[in-house]
């Protein structure tokens, strides 16, 4: 059997964007310049064009079979005109020239005045942070199906209490083109894949589920990394489901909390990250507004947002406004240093953009968004931190979180957590939420591990109805006091 025949699902799959060079609806620098000139015909400060082509695919296994396979194509162009802090935006899914012109004219309605010239735009280069041998979407469908079947078999073999296994592979290939009236013309190709396994274990009338997953801007080489193969994720999902079978009621009230390395970066994302997105600060609605140069966290804490981590889920070469993604220090030794900017907020604060203008698709306008948000390592040993707690909670895995930007109050939900009693991890506790206030919680970071870990690529961040992939990371963190939302009220 030849290799071509072993991959029937991928025969003839084209990843050429309709607006790419040589394609039927090619948008070259000259055409982009013409459209931007139409967009600025009634005036305005700046205009940009965003073209996007996405091929997404997924395979889903349940009940030991790959039940469905799917693929979707999405293509469109959005044109934006900025006038002061206002934007006119229109998008079209029809890439015919007349439709693009109409789109530019609609966006132009925001301005009313004299038109302005648009100079030539020229191709801009950018760093390469996620070059892959081949996007996973081009890999053999049979190989991918095999991965899911292997995960299923491994989970079932791991323990007789496993009753159900689900596995999925979701992947996408995103090509973007951005042209601006400031002369930028840039393309980027952003591959993404995410693998996940969920196991349900039942025993003695109790039932629990556990999940494990990962991915990033990888091709199939992701699975060749240590502990990232399908079987490892399957066994981890089973381990979690079994551990939680014995979970007891979680305590309720304020206590010491230790957050494990990696996934706990969700804390940073919610407690700090969103509040430092500059749109909220430009508008003065964040509880971090006007606090640059002042302490907002314990001196142990240094928080950075890094778009430049190789192959990470939140990494970007360029943002969706054509700016190169950067590393931005948000908090340095507890002192607030800066915000995450898009073009709007950067021009408001008279700063350079930080390359954080991101959007879900051409159907939405960019907003300041995080990429990979990390709390850097501290001086303490992980075991030393656990030993220092007399009574508290150790949180290892998380379901997600949410923040109220105005007040800074945030929650995040634990999917794997244990009681700490006299410096030792004891019983697992049921699903529970932690709640706190951003600056307050971070000021109570009293110990910080020397073990920075970046979470595997599973996180998606939502803001104003737009989802974008992000990464998080942190070392072991001890917070002196946080409210644990369990059901077991301590008497007396």
């Amino acid at each position: 059997m030849s290799t071509v025949q072993s991959a029937p699902a991928q025969q003839g799959l084209s990843l050429q964007a309709p607006f790419a060079p040589g394609a039927p609806y090619e948008i070259d620098a000259e055409r982009a310049q013409k459209l931007l000139a139409i967009a600025l015909r009634r005036g305005g400060d700046a205009a940009d064009l965003f073209a996007e082509f996405v091929v997404g695919g997924s395979l889903v296994l349940e009940e030991t079979i790959v039940k469905s396979a799917s693929r979707g194509v999405s293509v469109g162009v959005g044109i934006r005109v900025r006038r002061g802090m206002a934007a006119g935006y229109a998008y079209t899914e029809d890439l015919a020239w007349e439709s693009l012109v109409r789109c530019a004219e609609t966006a132009a309605q925001i301005a009313e005045g004299q038109g302005r010239e648009v100079g030539p735009v020229g191709l801009k280069t950018h760093p390469e942070r996620y070059r892959v041998a081949a996007p996973s979407i081009l890999a053999s469908g049979h190989d991918k199906r095999e991965l899911l079947l292997r995960a299923d078999a491994a989970a079932r073999a791991a323990d007789a209490r496993v009753q159900r296994v689900e596995a999925s592979l979701a992947e996408s290939y995103r090509e973007i083109l951005i042209a601006t009236s400031e002369g930028v013309f840039v393309r980027d190709i952003q591959p993404m894949m995410r693998f996940g396994v969920r196991a349900i274990a039942e025993s003695g009338g109790k039932r629990q589920s556990g999940s494990s997953g990962g991915g990033g801007r990888f091709g199939m080489e992701y699975f060749a990394q240590p502990q990232k193969d399908a079987e490892s994720h399957a066994r981890e999902a089973v381990r979690l489901a079994l551990a939680m079978l014995d979970a007891r009621e979680a305590p309720a009230g304020e206590m010491e909390v230790v957050l494990g390395p990696g996934d706990s970066g969700i804390l940073l994302h919610e407690a700090v990250g969103h509040g430092l997105e500059a749109d909220f600060n430009r508008k003065g609605v964040s509880n971090y507004s006007g606090r640059i140069g002042t302490p907002v966290a314990s001196a142990l804490c240094t928080v950075v947002d890094r778009a430049d981590l190789d192959h990470n889920r939140g990494s970007i070469n360029v943002d969706d406004e054509g700016n190169v993604g950067t590393s931005t220090t948000l908090i340095e030794n507890g002192i607030l240093r800066g915000y995450l900017h898009d073009n709007f907020s950067a021009s408001h604060f008279k700063l350079d953009p930080t390359g954080n203008g991101r959007r879900e698709s051409f159907r939405a306008t960019p907003l300041p968004r995080m990429t990979n948000t990390l709390l850097l390592a501290g001086p303490h040993d992980h075991d030393e931190i656990i030993r220092s707690v007399k009574k508290g909670i150790y949180a290892q895995r998380f379901g997600g979180g949410q923040v109220d930007i105005a007040s800074g109050d945030f929650v995040f939900s634990l999917s794997e957590a244990y009681l700490i009693e006299d410096g030792k991890l004891t019983a697992p506790v049921k699903d529970v939420n932690l709640i706190g206030n951003g600056p307050d919680a971070l000021s109570k970071v009293t110990m910080l591990g020397n073990n920075l870990e970046v979470s595997d690529g599973i996180w998606t961040c939502g803001k104003d109805g737009q989802s974008v992939p992000v990464g998080v990371g942190c070392p072991t963190i001890k917070i002196a006091s946080m409210t644990v939302g369990g059901t077991a009220v301590q008497k007396g």
Binding site: A9, Q11, S14, P18, P24, V66, K67, S68, A69, S70, R71, G72, V73, S74, G76, M85, A86, A87, G88, Y89, A90, E93, T106, Q109, I110, R145, R164, I200, E202, R207, Q208, S209, A250, A252, G253, E254, K283, V285, N287, G399, G401, Q402, D404, A406, G408, D409, V411, S413, K430, D431, V432, N433, I435, P439, T483, V484, G485, T487, A488, V489
Partner: protein, 449 residues
């Protein structure tokens, strides 16, 4: 594109799928016209306009299933989607339960549900800006403590939807939706800001709440949060206002679908016919509700929809089933297929039947407890029913709101939560597909200081 043209497109794609080797197929086409605007402190922030169009395919080769979708409706784009669907069928494995519904079960005629208001589409960008401005201004003028705003918004969307299957189903309808909202901000002590947005959304423009009324309500909710604080950890009654209550119902709804049951991912597994909630609880899914946000004359399988009483006076009466889930469980579909191209059942208009008392009376009847107006986070485990979320609202003393509360969590397993609902008010209103009147849970764990 009008619905005749959309149906022609579906038929064309269906023909190509069948000619290409499909044994059965379903094709859905959608179009939309959207306008949304946002103003902040009176100034226009965003005016966004767009037209959308897409098709989605569900394709069968015997018992193998694949789906494909595209918004590229050029000849090449359609060819690609058809090719994708046919190819991917070969990758999927045989599922003995897969297949279209029995043609005899299909809806051949269905009611006009009045889901479309032509007036919606007539709102221009300029008028939309004026409506958003009016809404925001009413919030800013309401109280001097309102000092800032996250902005006021107005949006409208209209869309066409048609579906055709090789089993002989042909149908479609148009829908519309308009919404107005604003989020004023008030400065609180300790560098905190407080905001509580309020919104109105309806299928018919004339049913929208007046913009200034929405603005005033948003402002009233925002200033009411000033000075919010934690309360000590304790067990106490908890009242959920309609906005908070509907998110509990949404989580419950996810546990009564056939999919959740055959996946053994519901705390309600094996409970059919049993008492799962208090006598005061009757939960209904009604796709036929006039003007309902989630109303639909036929479901994603092409079956006629019907009102389903899921829980009647506390007793679990039925799952919500699509054709596939029904086959898996050896039952009959309840006309609840949520998606035309995916698989799975879902709610249409899912609500808790209103009780006989006013929300005010329920409050007066509560000596002390927590009155929740909003929740945060994702703390629900459908498999076990364990529930724990962040909450804010007011503390209740002697039947009246005493002071605002924030930064607490509320927890209780859903089995006990729904069993201990001891008061349901009469203030049911449909703003989205899941709706609830105010209700009270006799006792929950509140974690605070």
């Amino acid at each position: 594109m009008d619905s005749t043209k959309l149906l022609e497109l579906c038929d064309d794609v269906l023909g190509r799928l069948m000619a290409g080797g499909a044994s059965d197929a379903k094709v859905v086409a959608r179009t939309g016209q959207d306008l949304s605007v946002r103003v902040r402190l009176g100034e226009v922030e965003l005016v966004e306009e767009a037209g959308t169009q897409s098709i989605a395919i569900r394709c069968f080769k015997g018992k193998r299933v694949a789906t494909a979708s595209t918004n590229d409706l050029t000849a090449a784009g359609l060819r690609r989607a058809v090719g994708d669907a046919l190819e991917l069928c070969d990758l999927a494995q045989e599922d003995p339960f897969a297949g279209l519904p029995d043609p005899a079960a299909l809806a051949s005629a269905y009611p006009d549900m009045r889901l479309y208001d032509p007036a919606c589409g007539s709102i221009t960008a300029g008028e939309a800006v004026e409506r958003a401005r009016r809404c925001e201004k009413a919030s800013l003028d309401f109280d001097p403590r309102i000092t800032n705003s996250e902005g006021g918004s107005f949006g409208r969307t209209q869309g066409g939807f048609v579906m055709a299957t090789s089993g002989g189903f042909r149908g479609g309808y148009n829908g519309s939706y308009a919404s107005v909202s604003t989020s004023p901000v008030a400065a609180d002590e300790g560098g905190k800001n407080r905001t509580s947005g309020y919104w109105s959304a309806k299928r018919f423009l004339h049913q929208l709440e007046a913009e200034d009324a929405v603005g005033r309500e948003a402002a009233r909710r925002t200033v009411a949060l000033l000075g919010a604080r934690k309360v000590p950890t304790q067990e106490a009654p908890v009242i959920f206002d309609p906005d908070a209550a509907r998110s509990l119902l949404g989580a419950f709804a996810g546990c009564v679908t056939g999919d959740a049951i055959y996946r053994r991912s519901s705390f309600l597994l094996d409970r059919l016919g049993e008492t799962v909630a208090s006598e005061l609880v009757t939960l209904i899914d009604d796709p036929l509700l006039a003007d309902g946000p989630g109303s639909r004359p036929f479901d994603g399988d092409g079956l006629l929809t019907r009102k389903n009483v899921v829980v009647e006076r506390g007793v679990l009466k039925t799952w919500l089933l699509d054709t596939y889930g029904a086959r898996k469980l050896g039952m009959a579909s309840t006309g609840s297929a949520a998606s035309a191209t995916g698989s799975g059942a879902g709610v249409s208009n899912f609500y808790l039947a209103p009780g006989g008392v006013s929300a005010e009376a329920l409050l007066r009847d509560t000596r002390r407890g927590l009155y929740v107006t909003g929740m945060m986070g994702f703390g629900f485990n459908a498999v076990t029913g364990d529930f724990s979320r962040g909450a804010y609202g007011y503390w209740v003393e002697d039947g009246a709101l005493a002071f605002p509360v924030s930064e607490v969590t509320i927890s209780l397993n859903f089995k006990e939560l729904f069993a201990s609902i001891d008061g349901v008010a009469d203030d049911l209103e449909f703003k989205s597909g899941v709706a609830s009147p105010t209700f009270r849970v006799a006792k929950m764990t509140i974690a605070g200081s």
